[in-house]
Amino acid sequence: MNSRWRILVVDDEVAMRESLAAWLREDAYAVDIAASGREAVAMAAETAYDIYFIDLKMPPGINGIETMMEIRKRQPDATVVIVTAYATVDTAISAIKEGAQEYMVKPCNPEEISIFVQRVIRLKSLERENTYLRRRLSRRYSFQDIISKNPKMQAVFELVRRVAGQRSTVLIQGASGTGKELVARALHQAGGRASRPFVGLSCAALAETLLESELFGHERGAFTGAVARKRGKFELAGDGTIFLDEIGDIPPKLQLDLLRVLQERRYFRLGGSEEIVMEARVVAATNRDLLAAVESGEFREDLYYRLNVINIQLPTLRERREDIPLLVDAFIGRLAIEAGRPVRGIAKDALKLLLDHDWPGNVRELENAVERAVVTASGDILEAGDFDFLARAARTSERWEVPDGLSLDEIEKRAVEAVLARTGGNIKAAAEILGIDRSTLYMKIRKYEIPR
């Protein structure tokens, strides 16, 4: 079907745009119309059309050539046909010079326009085929949701495949943002537990008593405020997987409790007398050097060995730079859809910039950077300029204070900027802090042109 191909017909004359659109629709193209250059540019910002038919003379506002130049700035790959009522060599030459692929004098022969559109579509199909092959390639290098062709990561995939079906405890170690939770989920999925619960808990975020009740649950009246029985994460995980993130941060008393559960595979709810069998697989993760913590006495040695039955070490992004192009490609594919932006790829110099960056926050930081660039990019290809914020974030971030004499818009703009800087460009986290949803944040970033 042709319906995947999108065409925009731009003409101030209603009869002209309506009838051409109707004629093209009979060929199963998805055809939209715009009555002015401005409208066309606005529509092109929302949807990446494959072909644009633009009338040269369109008063008032911006004319056909200007419209084409605006659109080409955002979508260098788009095919633009300039349509005019009179054939003059001058306008034809200037249209072609500015990047029009074709110049048509109306009325034109149905054969001419039909052959032209078919030729363009054939070429674009080939391009799409190439993109498809590239995506297939990235699937070849992916395991569950993790993408890599790096030998260390390939070894991790192999290990995960091998031990996924077992119940032995797994300890995943790696710097923050290296994908520890993804590996835990991959273990869960690949081990045939996909239909069972995967329950995650970050041990760093909670106070000791709260963490205890989160893990083991409690009976009604077990402590002040325990107004009802509550099931703990171990129980909720059933015979699935419980993922204990930042295990290196749990307090000494809980280290002992956890050790007991791992040894005996049974436990009590807080304040309870009914023994509960623990059936879940335990996967723990940390970005700390646990062995050093054992040596300094912060972490129990016996618990360490209980957890470390199978050890998975994740490399930093610096150690697997060759994955950056694959990862960027995959992120663009997903994030462009999520953010509803017409981004399809990345320019060479922008990719080089990403390859050279240090990525202290690893894959997650890379993902955040791509997300931010996708949201703010003006074209369908991410350019080096779309990643300016990386250089800016590297500089010292100043504290934000409210100076006098600012409009509400200006204050809002600065607030959004400040929060984005603090979250390292993480849209989701920033939206949460600001108390707005992601799409609203996207809108504000675009409105205030924040990274520019």
Binding site: E13, S19, L20, K106, C108, P110
Partner: protein
């Protein structure tokens, strides 16, 4: 399901009969022929010496009886749209109205002697094509299928007055839903 056949002045009874027979045979329409349409001057572009097919079709649709499922205009006028030098016909995709012109189907247009059988066959192809559009069919890549795009008379003569298997199946499914009373064109 009622199809109203609306001729303009100059269309012969034989042309109407041929178009009506195809609409009845292929689509199962009950066919009613309306009194000829007086085409308004405003639809004529004197500079080009042609009528604007969108405007003629719009005029006809205004006069169409409400109980008609489809309206087919048959005209001897040479039709065009602003972007194209001519059209053999035009249809509302998934819509109610279609128009077919005899002007460029006649051998005389190409300097050849009249040939009623040739004209009748070409007319059947174009009626099938445009009514097919009103039932949601889009252009087909099978050059022998009536739904393939014809940009000149050679293309019309190359195709047959019937649908390929895919288009035929699509039309059958669509007619089935229409018979059950659900026609996207009426929404």
């Amino acid at each position: 399901m009622l199809l109203c056949l609306l001729p303009t002045a100059g269309v012969q009874a034989g042309d109407l009969a041929g178009a009506g027979a195809l609409a009845a045979d292929v689509f199962g329409f009950e066919v009613r022929t309306l009194p000829p349409l007086a085409v308004p001057d405003a639809t004529f572009d004197a500079r080009r010496g042609q009528h604007d097919s969108s405007l003629v079709l719009a005029t006809a649709l205004d006069l169409c009886p409400p109980d008609a499922t489809r309206l087919l205009v048959l005209t001897g006028l040479d039709l065009a749209i602003p972007m194209l030098t001519f059209v053999f016909g035009q249809a509302q995709l998934d819509g109610r109205g279609a128009i077919v012109s005899l002007a460029r189907l006649r051998p005389e247009f190409y300097g050849l002697p009249p040939a009623p059988a040739v004209l009748a066959e070409r007319l059947r192809k174009e009626v099938l094509h445009e009514l097919g559009h009103t039932c949601g069919l889009v252009h087909c890549t099978d050059q022998g299928c009536a739904m393939s795009l014809s940009v000149n008379i050679v293309f019309i003569d190359r195709k047959k007055a019937r649908l390929c298997r895919d288009c035929g199946a699509r039309l059958a499914a669509r007619l089935e839903t229409m018979r059950r009373g659900a026609d996207p064109a009426e929404e």
